[in-house]
């Protein structure tokens, strides 16, 4: 005769062992990795919403438990991507990128300072939080806005998705522009070389979406100023004739 509490059904025993081992929460996490989840404001103490591929913070592998704070360096391998928030700012750092979240100097008036050494980042910033972004070829001052930047030693692509941005070329103080945008109105290329006063050029709208902006704004409890996203999905959706 079996003692009290002893499981006589092997299937039941396996189920309970699986539950004890956290199998189903692991399965839930795996499902979330595959099929995603509805984004919402990150709980206090959590910085990273999603990490895929190879991503490091201060040269250590990043996980969902990794905290990111001013002073940290976030780096993604070409196959990596990370979505995270720091204070009231949220970021989507694409593959092959390196970004330093700098501690702005006291008395600078800045709340946040970013240095995008290389790669691609989509960022949103809280209202009334002056921020400076430095890329390989530009320095940009922004206030309460959403922006997308891609940078390499030759040029920076910069889209003010909404808000205000003061853009200046690093190598030519006379090449500067102020962009006031409501919905990706004036993307720019900022070049490392070129004639004086002409190192900022108009660019097309590329490589970022309104859905991504809505996602990262939701991580810090905000919504973007637009209601309807630009259509980015490009499948035919043909009717059956």
């Amino acid at each position: 005769m079996r003692s009290f509490g002893e499981l006589d059904d092997p299937r039941r025993r396996i189920l309970i062992q699986a539950l004890a081992a956290g199998f189903f929460s692991g399965a839930g996490t795996a499902a979330a990795q595959i099929f995603g989840r509805a984004p919402g404001q990150l709980p206090a103490g959590q910085s990273i919403y999603r990490v895929s591929g190879t991503v490091s913070v201060n040269a250590k592998p990043a996980t969902l438990q990794t905290r990111i704070t001013p002073g940290d360096t976030v780096e993604t391998a070409p196959n990596g991507e990370v979505i995270f928030a720091v204070a009231e700012e949220a970021f989507l750092l694409r593959g092959g990128s390196r970004m330093v979240i700098e501690q702005p100097p006291a008395r600078s008036g800045l709340v946040t300072a970013l240095r995008l050494v290389t790669g691609k980042v989509l960022s949103v910033f809280g209202k009334g939080r002056p921020t400076r972004i430095v890329t390989a070829t530009s320095t940009i001052g922004i206030r309460g806005t959403g922006v997308y930047a891609e940078t390499d030693p030759e040029q920076t692509y910069f889209c003010t998705c909404y808000g205000v941005a003061d853009v200046a070329a690093n190598t030519d103080p006379t090449s500067k522009d102020t962009v006031i945008a409501t919905h990706h109105d004036k993307p720019l290329y900022i070049l490392a070389k070129g004639k004086e006063g002409g190192r900022i050029r108009r660019a097309p709208f590329i490589n970022h979406t309104d859905q991504e902006l809505m996602l990262i704004e939701s991580l810090v409890g905000r919504t973007p100023p637009f209601v309807f996203p630009l259509e980015n999905y490009n499948a035919p959706r043909r009717d059956y004739p």
């Binding site: 979330a32 595959i34 099929f35 995603g36 989840r37 509805a38 984004p39 999603r50 895929s52 991507e81 694409r94 097309p204 590329i206 490589n207 859905q211 809505m214 996602l215 704004e217 939701s218 919504t223 973007p224 100023p225 637009f226 209601v227 309807f228 259509e231 999905y233 490009n234 499948a235 035919p236 959706r237 009717d239 059956y240």
Partner: protein
């Protein structure tokens, strides 16, 4: 006569709804509202279709179709949460073997959209009306194709988006056999894997009238059953010249499943690969010597499309 009058009335209603939005596109309308053009969109596709006759058994004929379609639209913000979208489109399809099915088309679509907020998960509700004229290499199919309905687009997660639609389709051909109406209920899930890869899965149920083309002399017993069942909605189909084939208008239920993969590239370009399978079953009484199974058919369409937005 009554059928033609009903379709003409519906056509007028659809056209009236489309025309109602035209003043918004006039220069005065553009000044009154904040007019915004949507990107032009061009797609070129190659489709293999194993049943262009929409018939069962040996009556199913296979062909490949080269298609092109271009569209351009205008957006009219109506309030902070609503907007109208009007777009025009033009295109054509070239059939390799059965050229009578080749056709050109042009048309317009108007959408009225509502979205409650800019929150990630907020659904976009839309009412639409679409009308298009079609000109075939044959004569009987020439005419108009209209559709109106409701759609809902909702991100379920940061990787999965749901699209649902209920729509009424009306075809007004030169021959009354090609005057058909059907109702479609559609659901589609888009699953994004990374930034540029999207898999999609669609399911659709259609109920209404459809046209099936069958050989007249190949199987006299089948032909007799088809004639007895479809009379008087029969006409010799002028799109096929290989042998004498008749088009029959029948009531049917069709289930359509779609599986696709879309690979995006920078600059608004994408490559799309899809497989669509449609299964039809008769939704009216089959008259002897026909049985319902004589009218059942399946269609497989394999499509490769290149799309660009600019």
């Amino acid at each position: 006569m009554r059928r033609g009058a009903t379709i003409r009335r519906m056509r007028r209603s659809v056209l009236a709804a489309a025309v109602a939005l035209v003043p918004l596109a006039t220069p005065g309308g553009a000044r009154a509202v904040d007019l915004e053009f949507t990107p032009a969109r061009v797609e070129a596709s190659l489709t293999g279709d194993d049943n262009v006759t929409r018939a069962g058994g040996s009556d199913a004929l296979r062909d490949t179709v080269l298609g092109v379609r271009a569209s351009k639209g205008m957006l009219f913000p109506l309030s902070s949460r609503t907007r109208a979208l009007v777009q025009g489109f033009v295109g054509g399809e070239k059939f390799h073997k059965y050229d009578g099915l080749s056709h050109n088309f042009f048309g317009a679509q108007a959408d009225y959209q509502f979205r409650s907020s800019g929150e990630f998960g907020a659904a976009t509700y839309s009412a639409f009306v679409r009308t298009q004229a079609e000109y075939f290499q044959s004569t009987l199919r020439d005419g108009y194709r209209h559709a109106f309905g409701l759609t809902v687009l909702k991100p379920l997660t940061d990787r999965v988006t749901f699209l649902g639609a209920l729509q009424q389709n009306i075809i007004d051909g030169k021959s009354s056999v090609f005057d058909t109406q059907n109702t479609a209920l559609r659901a589609n899930l888009d699953w994004s894997v990374g930034t540029w890869n999207t898999f999609y899965l669609g399911a659709e149920y259609r109920k209404g009238e459809f046209v099936s083309t069958n050989c007249r002399t190949c199987d006299p017993n089948k032909t007799l059953g088809l004639v007895n069942t479809a009379t008087p909605n029969i006409i010799q189909d002028d799109a096929f010249t290989d042998t004498v084939r008749d088009a029959y208008r029948l009531k049917a239920n069709i289930v359509v499943a779609t599986l696709g993969y879309n690979r995006g590239f920078g600059g608004g370009q994408s490559l799309d690969l899809s497989w669509r399978r449609a299964m039809s079953s008769l939704a009216q009484s089959a008259v002897a010597p026909a049985s319902k199974s004589d009218f059942a058919y399946t269609v497989n369409q394999y499509s490769l499309a290149y799309l660009v937005r600019f």
